[in-house]
Symmetry: C2
DNA sequence: TTATATATTTAAGCAAATTAAATATTATGA
DNA sequence: TCATAATATTTAATTTGCTTAAATATATAA
């Protein structure tokens, strides 16, 4: 399980990305999908996810429709046109960030040369 | 400039990584190095960085030595043996997280097929 | 009948970052 | 020479964002 802190700030974008791939999802489903895509390394907590869904809805990026499925209440979320736009931007930003992280964390072949290789 | 939120939770690990590559660095230098490695996309704020340095020192992962260079006060930080161990773990965790992020954000060739491809 | 899985809501508290101001020296450009 | 930018650290107040945890409710498997 990846240290929780790393997900901070990325949840909103991850939600937008999943809803870009599948046009209707409910909260619980989103948590399961993230767990599956991450081999159970990332578990979204409900306390984090649901308030984010409400905020995205409030910001006009998502629309919600409630349904009863197997006697259980479900609330499906979909991207609005504005949500689709924002999703593109945010996903692209986060991809860039992931690349940047990789560069920063890149193994340094010989750290003793760092002052030569990188300037002091 | 990458949205600030994404760096959240990663700063500590980034600091440990930079100090793994270069055995003595001071705070300001760390901010410059991160900016350089990220093409100015990531700017560590001092309000975030310095308290983290104090915390790492307090936790026994860093040792600090103050010097005067060009009449300016500088505080150099180095990894302790414990800091080196923790740095390895944390860096490896964050690399894994970056990989996981990439997978989650991976462009979906045809999102209309998602319910077939991924199960509904 | 007990636990696990499904499904959402939301309050209290905490951790981590932002913002911003204080302090001080050196270098550069107008 | 005057102002601004760059160098360098500190730290308080505030805000954001997440964790923890409890409440609520149904279905299914052991």
């Amino acid at each position: 399980m990846i240290s929780k802190g790393y997900i901070n700030g990325t949840i909103k974008t991850i939600v937008l990305k999943l809803l870009s791939d599948k046009n209707r999802m409910y909260g619980y489903e989103i948590t399961q999908r993230v767990a599956a895509l991450s081999n159970d390394e990332i578990k979204l907590t409900y306390g984090a996810l649901y308030p984010i869904l409400y905020k995205l809805e409030n910001d006009g990026l998502l629309v919600a429709t409630s349904e009863i499925v197997d006697n259980r209440a479900r609330k499906y979320y979909s991207l609005t046109p504005k949500g689709k736009e924002v999703a593109k931007e945010k996903v692209s930003e986060l991809q860039k960030f992931a690349e940047t992280l990789k560069i920063i964390l890149m193994p340094n072949p010989d750290s003793r040369l760092s002052s030569v290789a990188w300037g002091s």
